[in-house]
Symmetry: C2
Amino acid sequence: MERNEIPGQGACRIESGFWNRYIGVIRNGVIPYQWDILNDRREDAEPSHAIDNFRIAAGEMEGAFYGQVFQDSDVYKWLEAVGNILMLERDPHLEEQADSLIDLIVKAQEPDGYLDTYFTIREPDKKWSDLLECHELYCAGHMIEGAIAYYQATGKEKIYRAACRLADYLTQIFGQEEGKMHGYPGHQEIELALLKLYEVSGEEQYLRLASYFLETRGTNRFFEEEFEKRGRTTFWNGAKIPEPNERYNHYPYSYYNQFHAPVRQQETAVGHAVRAMYMYTAMADLAAKTKDQELYRVCRRLWDDVTTKQMYLTGGIGATSSGEAFTQDYDLPNDTNYSETCASIGLIFFAHRMLQCETDSVYGDVMEQALYNTVLGGMNYEGNRFFYVNPLEAVPEVSKANPERHHVGTLRRKWFSCACCPPNLARLIGSLWKYIYTVGESRVNVQLYIAGTAHLNTGGQTLSVIQKTEYPNDGKISFTIQGDGERDIEFALRIPGWAENWRFTINGEAVVPDQVEKGYAVFCRNWKQETTIQADFEMKAQFVGANPKIHYDLGRAAMTRGPLVYCLEEADNGPRLDELVLNTEAGIRETARPEWNGYVELEADAVRIKLPEGQDLYMPYRPVKEKVKVRAVPYYLWNNRGEGEMQVWMKAD
Amino acid sequence: MERNEIPGQGACRIESGFWNRYIGVIRNGVIPYQWDILNDRREDAEPSHAIDNFRIAAGEMEGAFYGQVFQDSDVYKWLEAVGNILMLERDPHLEEQADSLIDLIVKAQEPDGYLDTYFTIREPDKKWSDLLECHELYCAGHMIEGAIAYYQATGKEKIYRAACRLADYLTQIFGQEEGKMHGYPGHQEIELALLKLYEVSGEEQYLRLASYFLETRGTNRFFEEEFEKRGRTTFWNGAKIPEPNERYNHYPYSYYNQFHAPVRQQETAVGHAVRAMYMYTAMADLAAKTKDQELYRVCRRLWDDVTTKQMYLTGGIGATSSGEAFTQDYDLPNDTNYSETCASIGLIFFAHRMLQCETDSVYGDVMEQALYNTVLGGMNYEGNRFFYVNPLEAVPEVSKANPERHHVGTLRRKWFSCACCPPNLARLIGSLWKYIYTVGESRVNVQLYIAGTAHLNTGGQTLSVIQKTEYPNDGKISFTIQGDGERDIEFALRIPGWAENWRFTINGEAVVPDQVEKGYAVFCRNWKQETTIQADFEMKAQFVGANPKIHYDLGRAAMTRGPLVYCLEEADNGPRLDELVLNTEAGIRETARPEWNGYVELEADAVRIKLPEGQDLYMPYRPVKEKVKVRAVPYYLWNNRGEGEMQVWMKAD
């Protein structure tokens, strides 16, 4: 078994220059940097105290807990990223670090399996007294995910066994049965982790517990009752508050954590976007694992709401910083949005699980839309600076001056006090190989166009697939396929939603697919003889408009090319981008550029409408109009040349 | 002495149809409605309990305090509005109501002069323990203002004497002397009230106390010390907090209440806009009363910052709802702004006091800009619905959906739980006659063009001035002037900042002014013979642009005519106003309309750029362009035809 293998499905190795550079950045940059942070070895960052918390809980050190109540999760996410990276290539030095950490984690675990350093150290008698705010189950979920990744990468069982002990313990505490707590987490995460653990261990009780957490949510008044029990106070500052939650919006407080209704009755995406994504991911996973068509339909309804009514062109989600949350259908402001990197990562998780239920190209389309725009844009090219918030319009002075726009950073930062995004990026990119193919009964689906070699088990044989492509810069992809069995296997290529024209060849001869089904070009044959399929999805730059129900994009256009959304930057176009009006009739010109590992720059005609800059605040409107050419870079590359304005949706004629 | 007279300066009676309708609305609508609210007689509003609080404090009723800690101020503002209205015309029924209220107020006053029902009823041992948050001095200031207005209108001394007792008591409590508290208010207001009381009473101690409050502000650590003393808690919910205030912005907490620096060292307008205006008003008044040129220069610096860098075209101020505050120079978003009605009223107070220091037309210009746009727009035409927030762009669905825009109401409301704006409007409009003229040594200045008759004392004589005009709909104004003395008097007309052309006649003959000085056309002569001056400020519609440092207005134009800013409304132009692009080369057409007491409607050419409304969230940009005519109404009239979109700054070619 290769290390980077999904048991039963196959293995895949990325051989894309584009992606291997990012993977290298994660391996050589993000993971070591984060290790230093966790160990408080960076003078350029606030101490995290994260590993010290484990030392104290393990009895190896004296001291007090320090940091967020969910500080432990940073440690587990690091471990998961390490597991993912070791799956690609073992690294004894890194394993040594991880093993020492694992010793500490296991030592911090209490005899009954409980594991959460905040409560062990600071409030041992308040365990499980505030599920809404205190993130114990959230941390447990990340612990389980980290443990699985490390176990799968190295075969070392220590942390995996600790994860099972923790999960076993949770099955004793939570459940429908009398005598157990009828609670569920304020921040979803444990559900998807338990489903992963079920997948690895085959233990039904983990599936049952995940199902319990999902199905009980929103059916009782658990959060209200625990709020009464602790005297109607909030964990965050101890103050008495009128309701268990802040209202993040005009919605009642229960919407923030998605317990406003039983999950099967939820119809639109509401509340904290990351929480929503993690919950939907678990729901879709449960639907796939239990072949629950009704639950899948619930997931599809939520999926459609998110991706056809509440998603930015960049695959960003969460239109408001107030609660880092969804607002309402078609409410997608460009300058005050949140679009947290982690939310788009969660959307990819969700899409990936939906593909286990149904092979529909919309899932792969959104996966690449989120991946190549918001997710990659969450990190700079070098991989040492991060965005939490991913705006579609940024003006540095405005972000500094205006409180409604303060959350929109215009320079990526090294780290965050709530450090979820960098390790989430690390664990996603480290495991990206898992997202390229999905395998069905006698069928292989290509979901992402990323060069590499895969060995995929389907229809009783192994299909070897060598994918070559310069995607996302070019829409040509070749697959060299060879099977080792006699049976026909369907080889299905996702036709990207952005592609208006495409053609295929097999061994150099033009062909049409045997069928085009739910957005896939399907070729069904015996692959015993090595066969080369070439796909050419015509990738050309275009102007894109938004549904006029999106108020904020009225009279505006964006530029895209293939899966990439483009933006104008001050570095290329000077400041005051909102003075520019695109001339969309003159077309878009493309230039291959060598910088940043190669990308295609776009150029379009525009008019700049300027007013004189005098002393007066207001004056008669006497504009000077200047014909200019504007240059655009892929959104994922923005803010790699210092601070400056950026705009995706331009005024257009 | 006429009732509506400023002692020593003269009297003025408004005879403008435009304004007398508003005054009637205040008299017959706002004041009775507010009386019902204060007495909890309205089923369509939350009980205010305001007068019941006084009953309880007076020992006439059992019960608990209810409402905001500054609930008393609503009562006093009503009294001030009543005083102002009675100054125009006595009304026995209204006086009876006011007298009964006054009996109650005086009975609620404690023997030492203390007056604040919250502390008398609920926390008698916590008086003066939280000046930052608890508004005792704010309420005291409004009590004094209300008392003076009622006294001046009716000559009845009861409430005026109570105000003096309160002020005398304050002089015992506060001051630089050892043994007195060295505090100052968290919400400025007492300062300007004490200066008024000094003006009426001639008692120097009130001037000294006002001066003390202003000059001590920001020079010591009083607020920090009282915060320590009460255990680092906040009044609002009793929670422990890290600093005395929330940080409303990137600024340190002291900026919110303008105690970040001694007032004479303050250079830019920061913090809560209403607090700032009330403080600057007092500073300017103190500078005028003490002829303190240095303090006047401080005021001018702050004035220039507010009006040339932080003010909306509509005379609105306060760019953010976060702290209802100023942000930074040129940060003037149109869709997330605050521009509280009360802040613009405060700006008019400030301008009026600046005119006591120096006759400069910028003060009158801003006074009318704020008055005819934000202030009047704060109320509907009928005077029974109010805006707290006055946006320059409103989209109902967006305000409902998006938390950063929730505060932007798109329908005026009957009342507010923090009910400052309606009574503030009532007291300003009721006293508007005071703002029309300012009188200097042998000089009369016309600040506002409002029809009416005035008798102004200057240069040892009384000048009778009959002003006739259809302003703000027309720029022609005639003055019939007659003096009763021999000395030459300067009669100076403010040349409005918006006027590009003007001409004057005297008794029908074209004349040029004797001089044009600081924005005034000055005519100096003996007025013994009745003389008619006609001014014609050419009032034509124009497109206006903004300084390009205002990011939010780039590529946009607004329409104005005279002092009036215009806006497009959905009622005239359909929804999706941001699809429209003004054609500014085709000019603006004017049509006199009979509705709403008569106004001039503007029409301009535009192109509507539409995208098809389909299922897709994003699609290739294939716009349909349609030539349209857009119609605009004065901003002060917006939202009188139901809920709909509104926009001041339009995309423009």
